[in-house]
């Protein structure tokens, strides 16, 4: 995949804009999935992804090729999403769970089970609520770790902070998430 990406980047730098369209098609879903969890809003996620691709295009020649294109793109998107979240921090948002976004179950056989959709929606809502309350800095490390499976080192490089900071942010994020989920479960039992 990386070799193909590099070829497309080279084509793009040579003036073939359509090659960049191919790069967009390759990475849009994966990027969108992560960004969606960061901004918790389908429209904002679309905007962030789109803006990230345009920024990436404009800075394409500064892409060194020593990292994967997606990692580089991901860094742009995460920073864009964090700055958006900071701007919108004061706004109260209702999670867009009934949007036109398709939800793909991890295990297709699970989807056919009666009540699966409802359970999944409830579970998502709980996690949405908890994630929403985390600060952007804490939320991003959790998303990078659990959705992208990134290591401390990669996360530190992407976010431009020391590894120790990543470790402590993730530590606080996990404990905070635990507390929020526990509070939510306690309230649900009442």
């Amino acid at each position: 995949m990386s070799a193909d990406d590099n070829r497309l980047i080279a084509d793009c730098l040579a003036g073939d804009t359509k090659a960049f369209g191919e790069l967009v098609r390759r990475h849009q879903d994966r990027l969108y999935n992560t960004v969606f969890r960061l901004v918790e809003n389908a429209e904002d996620a679309l905007d962030v992804v789109q803006e990230s691709f345009i920024n990436a295009y404009q800075s394409l020649d500064s892409f060194k090729g020593d990292a994967q294109f997606f990692t580089w793109l991901y860094r742009i998107a995460v920073n864009t999403a964090i700055s958006l979240k900071r701007k919108k921090r004061v706004l109260l948002r209702i999670p867009d769970l009934q949007g036109q976004i398709s939800i793909e179950p991890i295990d297709p056989s699970e989807a056919s089970r009666p009540g699966y959709a409802l359970e999944q929606a409830e579970e998502e809502q709980k996690l949405h609520r908890a994630l929403e309350r985390l600060s952007p800095e804490h939320r991003v490390v959790l998303v990078m770790k659990e959705l992208e499976g990134q290591k401390y080192e990669d996360m530190a490089e992407t976010l431009g902070v020391p590894i120790g900071t990543i470790r402590s942010r993730l530590h606080r994020a996990r404990l905070e998430l635990r507390e929020l989920l526990e509070r939510d479960e306690t309230e649900a039992r009442r």
Partner: protein, 419 residues
């Protein structure tokens, strides 16, 4: 109760980022502490829950939109210079810093030295003597001359370190001297804290769905008649659908829309949130009200796309700035000049071309007949707009008409409702 270090070990264990020594520590901790075992299980379950969140996929193929945006921006991958040429070399900065440090050090040495040191006295005096000074600064007392003057003397530093005063920033707006009756001035406030009188232009708010009622329509017409330009703000949850309704009403009013291509692309994708601006000129207040009435009626009768409130006010300074960004010119200042009537020499025959055009116009073809209402032209863009000059914008600017008295320049905005 787990210690902070033990908690860190547990979360790092969930992260999968422990070295072998730490793993042994965690194993020992789990063996001896039930609390640790419970917490670790919960943390691992939380992580699993996050990992099992459904995968989201992009609802539309973004490649087309991204490429359209890139095309509109006419951007190319930037060429980043390998080295930035510095106009201010590093050695100069180091030299300047060293000079300042030296001066400060010397000053502090002289200030903190014992008063009776003759060497310092002589040096300092020599420095003082070199400086131009007023007669008041000279020590005329019969006592031995002070080698160092007391702290607080404004002239002290002149002899040692010459401090160049930065030019005072020029005030943006000069304030006239206060009147005698000015309370703030009388109370000793300086010019920096003086309050300015600001005139606030309050907007008019009308209900779109009630504009069919005569009283509301005439009130809005009256308000608009007092303006030279108007910013008309409509709010909607669905920008694209709401604009479609506005578009129909504009076209029914013989307005030709010149829509920015990127905006057209965005409007075709209702999933994308889009704020739309429409700029048009030479609009009579009553025409604008009729237009809003039509939009309101359709919205009221059918599936409502607008929130209902119409906010109207004169174009503000920042609106003009936005318009300049949008159009590349300030449309309030830069207006096409009226066409001057050319003198006609009745002794000369009309050219055949003119005669044909006159005949065609009288037949209602080609050039509009005198008295017929000319078509309006409006430029439509999304907002905030990208700074580019599309052919649609060029066409719109070419078709602009000279200012007509009693008409308005109108900036219509269809803005998403923010909950």
């Amino acid at each position: 109760m787990l210690t902070p270090h033990e908690l860190e070990l547990l979360t790092a264990h969930v992260d999968g980022e422990l070295n072998s020594a730490q793993r042994r520590q965690v194993a020992a901790l789990l063996e001896r502490s039930g609390e640790a075992r419970t917490l670790l299980t919960q943390l691992q379950r939380d992580a699993e829950r996050l990992r099992s969140l459904s995968r989201r996929t992009v609802p539309i193929d973004l490649s087309e939109t991204v490429l359209a945006e890139i095309g509109q921006l006419a951007c190319q991958p930037r060429v980043v210079p390998l080295r930035r040429t510095t106009k201010f070399p590093l050695w100069r900065g180091v030299a300047a810093a060293a000079a300042v440090l030296f001066a400060v050090g010397l000053g502090s040495f002289l200030l903190n030295s014992p008063k009776g040191d003759p060497t310092i006295a002589n040096n300092t005096q020599a420095s003082i003597d070199k400086q131009p000074e007023s007669g008041n600064d000279r020590d005329t007392s019969p006592l031995p001359r002070k080698t160092l003057e007391p702290l607080g003397n404004p002239n002290r530093d002149k002899a040692i370190v010459k401090v160049e005063q930065l030019p005072t920033p020029r005030p943006v707006q000069t304030t006239p001297p206060p009147n005698q009756g000015d309370i703030l001035a009388a109370n000793g406030h300086d010019s920096a804290t003086k309050l300015e009188k600001v005139e606030v232009d309050l907007p008019t708010i009308a209900r779109l769905h009630e504009l069919h009622q005569e009283e509301h329509a005439s009130a809005l017409t009256d308000r608009l008649s007092k303006l030279r330009s108007a910013r008309v703000e409509l709010t909607s949850r669905e920008g694209a659908k709401a604009f479609e309704r506005l578009r129909k009403a504009l076209e029914a009013k013989q307005v030709t829309l010149h829509v920015d291509p990127l905006t057209q692309a965005r409007l075709k994708k209702p999933q994308q949130k889009t704020d739309v601006v429409v700029f048009l000129e030479n609009v009579k207040p009553e025409t604008l009200v009729e237009l809003l009435q039509q939009v309101g009626n359709e919205d009221r009768m059918g599936d409502p796309h607008f929130e209902g409130a119409v906010v109207v006010k004169e174009l503000a300074r920042w609106d003009r700035k936005d318009l300049m960004d949008l159009l590349g010119i300030d449309p309030l200042v830069n207006r096409p000049s009226p066409i001057r009537k050319q003198g006609v020499d009745i002794r000369r025959e009309f050219p055949e071309q003119t005669a044909r055009e006159v005949v065609a116009a009288l037949d209602g073809k080609g050039v509009p007949r005198p008295g017929s209402e000319p078509r309006h032209h409006a430029f439509v863009s999304h907002f905030p707009a990208t700074k580019n000059r599309s052919t649609e914008l060029t066409r719109f600017l070419e078709l602009r008409q000279p200012v007509k008295s009693g008409t308005l320049q109108v900036l219509l905005l269809v803005i998403r409702h923010v909950s």
